[in-house]
């Protein structure tokens, strides 16, 4: 007799459901996607015109030969690298709560790398010849050219994160435990790799002896420090928005942890900027010419001065706000502080780093740079494209991580439907507690879950009694344990000094995980038993 096994869903249905999840949503979702699509299309159109007319449509020239595109590229490399600030606690310190949230960072890394690759592509004078860089058919000047290193590390980082996320989601969909052998080595590799993408990008600049402004060993550490401010700041904003939208049935511990990260990194970043300024300005050598131009203007040229001081102000104010203990209880202010430093670092690392490297020129000519409308359109289009990808990935991943998936099927349709409901109602309760809604609404959501749990357990136990399932007693005890746990959460919620966040964490960390494992193991066991009896 062939071994009886329950059906495991395949790749095609997985992709079909992922596509369904990604394209289904409420009016807000469709409005958001339409807006992003419009911006992206304006960018695509501007780029098509740039390809035809040449780079003359940009504000660049032979003196300032890199501008907004490369600035944006440099900045988003940092955003991508910052996912590591969630990966490290999740995997190295086994922070359980980060384990669920880490995918928000990893998916951001994927989207940010795509933004980087697009930003470099639109900066090419001959995008039709990009294949000249491909080993084998082109000439890949590795290891001499740092740009070839950057190509390797960026694509490698993209591949690593795509594999890790894809494999974990696929396992979750199939209802199987992911094999550590197939993803843990890649996770640890991705940690080192995250540092490498930013170091290599810094080396692109600091390896150029002819550009004293960039030719400093502090550049790579500065890049990392600023990346670990801007990246986590953005992830905090994303988590806050997801919580607000009710589409994030996870805890807020990741936000607390990331806030602790930016408290430190924001100060380190400012410190390094100060060190850089002191070293160049105090000595007063001609090497400080670019920095002087950036901070104070030079020879009647001041284009970057307002940008740079805005960046410094934004970063200083944000760093101060991060240190204020009350910030965590004020999500709107927290998000504002994060966005301030995000913009501050975007300026500091983009316009404030790439452009002044060219001013004054290597022959000390003062030629300024202002991005053209085309450059703004293309840059915003690329960022919108990145946001489209990020939105879609999150829409696929979050329901998969927190809800029922076909891989959890026990082969009994009625039970599958009830299991799906259980996840949905549990998640609804988590979201309700987190959103800080009133006692009556909370009570209602609790009742909604509680009654359903009892109903489902009763149905399931009746099914097993009728079938003469030998493991019934043990199964019943497990159900009783879960009901008791739920009872204690209810009691906790009723008490006036309840720590709601703590209860929410218990719900989604221990109870949802229990449910998941219970269905994966015990329920599937009776599924196999029932199927065997039918044969």
């Amino acid at each position: 007799m062939a071994a009886i096994a329950l059906h495991r869903p395949g790749l095609l249905p997985f992709l079909r459901q992922a596509f369904g999840h990604a394209t289904d949503g409420g009016p807000l979702f469709y409005a958001w996607m339409t807006l992003l699509t419009c911006i992206a299309l304006v960018g695509v159109n501007a780029w098509a015109n740039q390809v035809v007319s040449g780079m003359q449509v940009t504000g660049m020239g032979d003196h300032v030969s890199w501008g907004l595109y490369i600035s944006n590229f440099t900045f988003f490399v940092g955003v991508a690298a910052a996912a590591v600030m969630m990966v490290i606690p999740a995997y190295l310190y086994h922070d359980h709560e980060m384990h669920d949230a880490v995918i928000v960072g990893e998916l951001l890394a994927i989207s940010a790398i795509i933004v980087c690759l697009l930003s470099v592509t639109v900066d090419l004078g001959r995008p039709d010849r990009f294949w000249h860089m491909m080993p084998g058919i082109g000439r890949f000047n590795w290891p001499i050219s740092l740009l070839t290193w950057d190509v390797i590390v960026l694509n490698g980082y993209l591949g690593l994160n795509a594999w890790i996320c894809g494999y974990l989601l696929w396992s979750r969909w199939r209802g199987t435990a992911p094999s550590p052998r197939l993803y843990l080595p890649f996770v640890f590799l991705s940690i080192i790799w995250a540092v490498s993408i930013h170091t290599v990008t810094a080396f692109l600049y600091c390896g150029l002896g002819g550009r004293p402004f960039w030719n400093t060993a502090l550049l790579a550490p500065r890049f990392l420090a600023s990346a670990f401010v801007a990246g986590p700041a953005l992830i905090i904003v994303v988590l806050l928005v997801l919580q607000r939208l009710g589409s994030y049935p996870f805890g807020d511990k990741p936000v607390r942890l990331l806030l602790r990260v930016v408290q430190i990194t924001a100060l380190i970043n400012l410190f390094m900027l100060a060190v850089e300024c002191f070293t160049a300005l105090y000595a007063g050598s001609t090497h400080a010419a670019s920095l002087r131009y950036l901070l104070f203007g030079a020879h009647g040229h001041y284009a970057l001065v307002p940008w740079m001081w805005s960046a410094i102000a934004l970063n200083v104010v944000a760093a101060g706000l991060f240190l204020w203990p009350g910030l965590i209880r004020r999500p709107a202010l927290l998000a504002t502080a994060c966005l301030m430093t995000f913009v501050g670092i975007w300026i500091e690392k983009g316009m404030g780093l790439v452009v002044p490297g060219f001013i004054p020129s290597t022959l000390h000519e003062m030629v300024e740079y202002v991005p053209s409308l085309t450059e703004w359109k293309i840059t915003l289009g690329i960022v919108a494209g990145g946001l489209i990808i990020y939105t879609l990935l999150l829409k696929i991943a979050l329901p998969l991580l927190s809800g029922w998936t076909p891989g959890l099927s026990v082969g009994v349709e009625a039970m599958d439907a009830q299991h799906r409901q259980l996840f949905d109602r549990l998640n609804a309760l988590v979201v309700a507690i987190r959103s800080g809604c009133g006692a009556t609404e909370l009570d209602r959501t609790m009742d909604f879950l509680d009654s359903y749990v009892r109903e489902h357990f009763a149905d399931e136990e009746k099914l097993l009694t009728d079938a003469g399932y030998p493991g019934l007693e043990g199964h019943r005890r497990m159900h009783a344990g879960f009901t008791a746990e739920l009872e204690s959460v209810r009691a906790g919620l009723a008490s006036p000094q309840a720590d709601r966040q703590d209860l929410a964490e218990r719900l989604h960390l221990s109870m949802r995980d229990w449910l998941l494992r219970h269905i994966q193991v015990e329920d599937r066991a009776y599924g196999v038993f029932l199927k065997q009896r039918l044969c």
């Binding site: 394209t23 289904d24 469709y30 699509t37 299309l41 304006v42 695509v44 159109n45 098509a48 015109n49 390809v51 035809v52 007319s53 040449g54 780079m55 003359q56 940009t58 660049m60 020239g61 032979d62 003196h63 030969s65 890199w66 470099v120 900066d123 090419l124 004078g125 001959r126 995008p127 039709d128 010849r129 990009f130 000249h132 860089m133 082109g138 000439r139 890949f140 000047n141 001499i144 050219s145 740092l146 740009l147 070839t148 190509v151 692109l204 390896g207 150029l208 002896g209 002819g210 550009r211 001609t286 010419a289 490297g357 060219f358 004054p360 020129s361 290597t362 022959l363 000390h364 000519e365």
Partner: protein, 300 residues
Amino acid sequence: MSDLTRRTVLKAAGATLGASAFAAAIAPLTQWQPAESVDEFLRRHYKELTAEDLAAICRRIEADTKVSHGIDVHVAAPQPMPGVQFGYALNLSICVGCRRCAEACHQENNHDRTSHNSYIRVFELDNGSIDLATGDATYDHPVPAKGKYYMPVQCHQCDNAPCVKVCPVEATWKEQDGIVVVDYNWCIGCRYCEAACPYHARRFNWKKPEIRPEEINPDQGYLSNRVRPQGVMEKCTFCLHRTREGRLPACLEACPTGARVFGNLADPNSDIRWVLANKRVFILKDDLGTKPRFFYFFDK
């Protein structure tokens, strides 16, 4: 079910609308005419070409120029001569800043006329200082001006060339005779070399160069002065289409004061070797270790 169908129809409509909007957005690309033919587009790197391949490519460029500009040009691919190492020296004591070298470069190398591009920038400096920060390359008055001296800057054909190191596709390299060249048909236009060059010697074709057919210099080199495509880098090649055939660079021939000395560094009897042995010679940005083949000297 009906809700599901409605949703599917709406999604399909949205997707169709998005796809057509995308097609409309990239429509300008249909007007794009990259300079080369399919054969040229798919060809191998310069260093992998045989002499026949190279000759065929030169004929193709001649034919293309006939179509695009309606004129007959001759495109050659002269190779480095054995035993020749080119070097250039410039006498700052007698340069008067007339910029005829820059103008000759402009004509000889078929530069874009609208930007008045040239591979040479001439700086006017104050006597008593050699600090380029006090210099001016945009002066517009009779020369030589009182209290000033002049310093033309062009590609230094460095032996340790930062521009060659950084190129991700080996579209630029140093030839046997010391000249740093760009293959305009291989360059992807990333401009990393332009950022790397400490002498502002590289130029980018921000648009398709505009030049009237009757002004085109028909005596062209594949790696030097042929009309460049849009979106690629270019640079001074010591006029290799001339110098590899025993002639002098156009900038030297145009100089009215004799400030420029060009020759073979490997020949102990050459003028350039005499200058290096007998004059007070210096190189620009010595500290960067670029090892230029372009020297400046004073003789009074």
